[in-house]
């Protein structure tokens, strides 16, 4: 069972709004032309990897539970970070389940 690092989770969640702010800017001559690198710690890399696995797993489950002709869109990051707020208040078996 992977031990959940709340601090890393919080740091990663923090970095997300920052990226979004840069994305909201109207185009101008000063806009960078190349991606702005975001440096991550080893913990953040592994957290993003588990977030991505969650993203693809829940997407597959949602597809299984939808009609074949339906358009689908979900934001797994929005779901997992809402759930992580409850995780912050959980204990014992509920905590280890949530953080997997």
């Amino acid at each position: 069972m992977k031990k959940f690092d709340l601090k890393t989770a919080i740091l990663t969640l923090f970095s997300v709004p920052l990226i979004f702010i840069s994305c909201k800017k109207e185009p101008s001559v000063t806009l960078p032309v190349d991606p702005v690198p975001i440096n991550l710690t080893a913990n953040q890399v592994s957290l993003i990897s588990s977030e991505n696995s969650f993203a693809l797993d829940i997407f597959k489950k949602v597809i299984e539970n939808s009609s074949e002709t339906e358009n689908i869109i979900i934001s797994p990051l929005c779901i997992s970070s809402a759930l992580s707020m409850t995780l912050n208040g959980s204990n014992g078996a509920t905590l280890s389940m949530d953080s997997e």
């Binding site: 994305c23 979900i74 779901i79 809402a82 707020m85």
Partner: protein, 281 residues
């Protein structure tokens, strides 16, 4: 990421829980009256405000047992690095899963894009702005190819495919699309191993001294992709309510019964009896 925590005004929350949410998650803290029928409207208008109006009417009603709502909203707007010319957009056919063909607005452009031709699919990358964000389109070969390709899409495989992409001049036909989607995720998350959080055995003792469970996880999202780029938003509402109160058992010995008197350490029975009439002598 725009989070908020809504607490019923008659519910006592542990201070450190709220402090963590407001300080580290920068969550807004709000309170609501669980008996007020206007609560869903208040929640919906908060979400609508955080998503540039893309997520509307999310909550229809709220169970009066709800003591806490953890809400998260996300909003994205990106303009294509290489935009499509509106004048080039034509009506073209799109083959639907049932084999029928629809005439849809198809955007056109010829440019360099990162592309990888895999086994049974093509992966193409459409960057936004300075390319911190991109849309990766996975187009299966064949009309009903999604079910074949889906199991192969893992974080590991995706990383590998992205590394194998290379820039190629491509004639791109890309349909415009605009739709919303809404789903209650409790049963899906249960399947994924989070089941205990939805049961009376849930332990959210760091939130409150009253035992809580997650009563619903509602998710709604919206996307519009056109010649300029993409605007998308999503919101998640996690509802919490007290676990079922274990009611006092009602033991009313008002009809004939048996009894045993015994010594507990040895389990030896000293008396056995039957009472059919407590008044009889």
């Amino acid at each position: 990421m725009l989070p908020s925590v809504w607490t019923a005004n008659n519910f006592v929350v542990k201070k450190p829980f709220i402090n963590t949410l407001t300080q580290y998650y920068t969550a807004e803290s709000k309170s609501f009256d669980p008996t007020d029928p206007l609560v869903p409207e208040q929640v919906n208008s908060w979400i609508e405000g955080k998503t540039n109006g893309l997520i509307k009417n999310m909550l229809d009603q709220l169970d009066q047992n709800t003591v806490m709502l953890l809400i998260n909203a996300i909003y994205f707007k990106g303009k294509w690095t290489s935009q499509f010319d509106k004048n080039e957009t034509i009506q073209a056919s799109f083959l639907k899963p049932n084999g029928a063909t629809a005439q849809v607005p198809m955007m056109k452009q010829t440019s360099d894009f990162k592309i990888y031709s895999g086994e049974g699919f093509t992966l193409a990358e459409f960057p936004y702005g300075q390319a911190n964000f991109v849309m990766d389109v996975i187009l299966p070969s064949g009309n009903n190819g999604i079910s074949n390709i889906l199991p192969l899409i893992t974080d590991q495989n995706l990383k590998g495919w992205l590394d194998l992409m290379s820039k190629r001049k491509a004639d791109v036909s890309f349909p415009k699309f605009k739709y919303g989607y809404k789903k209650e995720l409790k049963s899906i998350l249960s399947d994924m191993g989070m089941g205990i959080a939805f049961t009376d055995n849930a332990d959210f003792s760091n939130i409150s001294d009253i035992n809580l469970l997650i009563s619903f996880v509602l998710h709604q999202a919206f996307i519009e992709t056109n010649e300029e780029g993409t605007e998308a938003a999503a919101a998640t509402i996690v509802g919490m309510e007290p676990t079922a109160i274990i009611s006092r058992y009602n033991l009313n010995i008002d009809h004939p019964f048996l009894y045993i008197i015994r010594e507990t350490t040895t389990n030896s029975i000293i008396f056995v009896g039957r009472v059919t009439d407590p008044l009889a002598v």
